[in-house]
């Protein structure tokens, strides 16, 4: 239970049964981080002493016969845009490093702690979550455990790399345009972007509030469900958090999928990518015996609208700093934030109106289907320092932005999406998105568990 490949649920079961202590599990995680992270650079802060003290308190509760929680003694870490009491919330920036420490935990961090999990540190990210590579000029690039010359994806790159390398079994990240799903795919692990408003963002630094989501990463479907169940549900302190009661997903892991209507997303989701990335949907579809194709209308335009909203809202959030100290922004975000500040209001409003139209059309589509399949990324993890432009499907594209070509049209309307990892023999892992109607995360877990049981998707620890 102290090994890199131990699952979160196996650890919790063993801690609760007193077969291992939370302190031993935490010490082992800290030792792995100390040994491997200097090469990966996934952590920006490790709270070793505090984590060991908190693990000891979990052990005291177990010894006293108390319920130590469903995630008792499970080490976890969070993207450094989550507030952690006593730590400064960096959001990947130099500017926020000047701010005082947070005085309380973000809601999702507090929820995992209430479930018994032990927070071991904070993780690297693209500055202000504006990127898909985790090449951070201030804190250095995080490296992909599958190939250290490549990016882990972003913006939650540290969150994905730490889980893929077996440093911790669970992490949290955020997803505005693909920032959970892209790194999950590039690092070969599971990542869930829940329905917009399903998980509280209270205490999480915003990027583009209309599109910001919080969600977990894990190496198994059951672990992902346990983490999601711990953090989902209403929270009045987040103005967009839904009042709808939480629907536990753990009980759906292993349930039959017969009767579910499945289809493959065509059109936009079947071009704009390498053949390898498109082909990865096939084994997943075969395992589920899916042949039906459905086209999501105007998905390319949805992506365009998401770009406009993201840049305009993000720039507005940081406008004071852009005016007074633009040089302190990461060079990879500075030009895009400055440009976002110049977008006319009418174009922003049009994008928000298009969003309403698109939501209605996709809702009609989900009257006929329960889960859609689509590739997560248009390619495998790019090299660190890759050129600005790349050629794909006969077109030159802005490489950094193009990693989100398949994720942006879905987060744009807040659909729940679970990215499952597909190992590729002789190559790097890729991902497939399982997509459902709002608040139907449970069906995603049923399908993901079936795929995991079939062996088509898997997230082994990268040694």
């Amino acid at each position: 239970m102290t090994g890199a490949d131990a699952s979160a649920l196996a650890i919790a079961t063993a801690v609760r049964a007193r077969r291992v202590t939370a302190r031993e599990v935490t010490a082992a995680a800290l030792a792995r981080i100390a040994r491997r992270d200097p090469a990966l650079n996934s952590f920006t802060h490790v709270r070793a002493e505090a984590a060991l003290a908190e693990a000891a308190r979990v052990d005291e509760r177990v010894a006293a016969g108390e319920d130590a929680g469903p995630l008792a003694g499970v080490p976890f870490a969070v993207k450094n845009l989550f507030d952690v009491a006593g730590l400064t919330t960096l959001a990947g920036s130099k500017i926020f490093a000047e701010r005082p420490p947070a005085d309380r935990d973000a809601a999702a961090v507090a929820a995992l702690r209430r479930a018994g999990a032990v927070l071991v540190g904070a993780l690297n990210m693209d500055e202000f979550a504006f990127g898909f590579t985790c090449e951070n000029a201030h804190y250095g690039p995080t490296r992909n455990p599958h190939d250290p010359s490549r990016v882990p994806g972003g913006s939650s790159g540290g969150s994905a790399a730490a889980v893929a390398a077996g440093l911790v079994p669970l992490t949290l990240g955020s997803d505005t345009n693909g920032s959970i799903r892209v790194p999950a795919a590039f690092c070969g692990i599971f990542g869930l972007k829940p329905t917009y408003g399903r998980v509280s963002r209270a205490g999480v630094a915003l990027f583009a509030g209309s599109l910001d989501h919080v969600g977990p990463f894990a190496r198994s479907v059951a672990d992902l469900a346990a983490a999601f169940d711990a953090i989902q549900g209403p929270d009045a302190s987040d103005p967009v958090c839904s009042d709808a009661p939480a629907v536990a997903c753990a009980p759906h892991v292993g349930r039959e999928i017969e009767g579910l209507r499945l289809a493959i997303a065509g059109g936009h989701f079947a071009r704009n990518a390498t053949e390898e990335a498109l082909a990865v949907v096939k084994p997943v579809a075969r395992a589920l015996r899916v042949t039906r194709q459905i086209e999501i209308p105007e998905a390319h335009r949805a992506r365009a609208a998401a770009m406009v909203i993201t840049a305009a809202e993000g720039a507005n959030l940081h406008l004071a700093d852009l005016r007074s100290r633009a040089k302190d922004f990461d060079p990879t975000t500075r030009d895009r934030f400055l440009a976002g500040a110049l977008v006319p209001a009418s174009l922003y409003a049009q994008a928000q109106r298009f969003r309403a139209w698109y939501r209605a059309r996709v809702a009609e589509l989900f009257q006929e289907v329960d889960v859609l399949l689509a590739p997560t990324t248009p390619w495998v993890a790019p090299l660190i320092g890759a050129p600005r432009l790349a050629r794909v499907d006969g077109t030159d594209v802005v490489a950094r932005a193009h990693s989100g070509v398949f994720t942006q049209p879905l987060s744009f309307i807040g659909l729940p999406v679970l990215s499952v990892p597909v190992p590729v023999v002789g190559s790097l892992p890729l991902g497939v998105q399982l997509i459902a109607a709002p608040f139907r995360e449970a069906v995603l877990f049923r399908v993901a568990a079936r795929l995991e049981a079939s062996g088509v998707v898997a997230a082994p620890v990268v040694a």
Partner: protein, 75 residues
């Protein structure tokens, strides 16, 4: 004028790329009191061209007057 703004799939047959000059950026930035250093102007012009190309693609799609913006304000 900057290089052609290439944003891949956004360059559809329906709309062409929006080209933004450094002078355009300077004028717009002046309107919103946003100082931009001369060495940043080329990159910002490219980035703004990408955004305005995206916005044009969205704007080309006809929406009826009863389509209300997605965000909901609850007083």
């Amino acid at each position: 004028m900057t290089d052609a703004v290439r944003v891949g799939y956004l360059d559809s047959n329906v709309v062409g790329p929006v080209r933004i000059s450094e002078a355009d950026v300077e004028r717009l930035a002046g309107v919103v009191a946003l100082p931009i250093s001369p060495d940043e102007l080329p990159a910002v012009a490219v980035a703004l061209g990408v955004l305005l190309t995206a916005a044009r693609l969205v704007g080309e799609f006809p929406l009826s007057d009863d389509v209300e913006a997605a965000p909901v304000f609850r007083p």
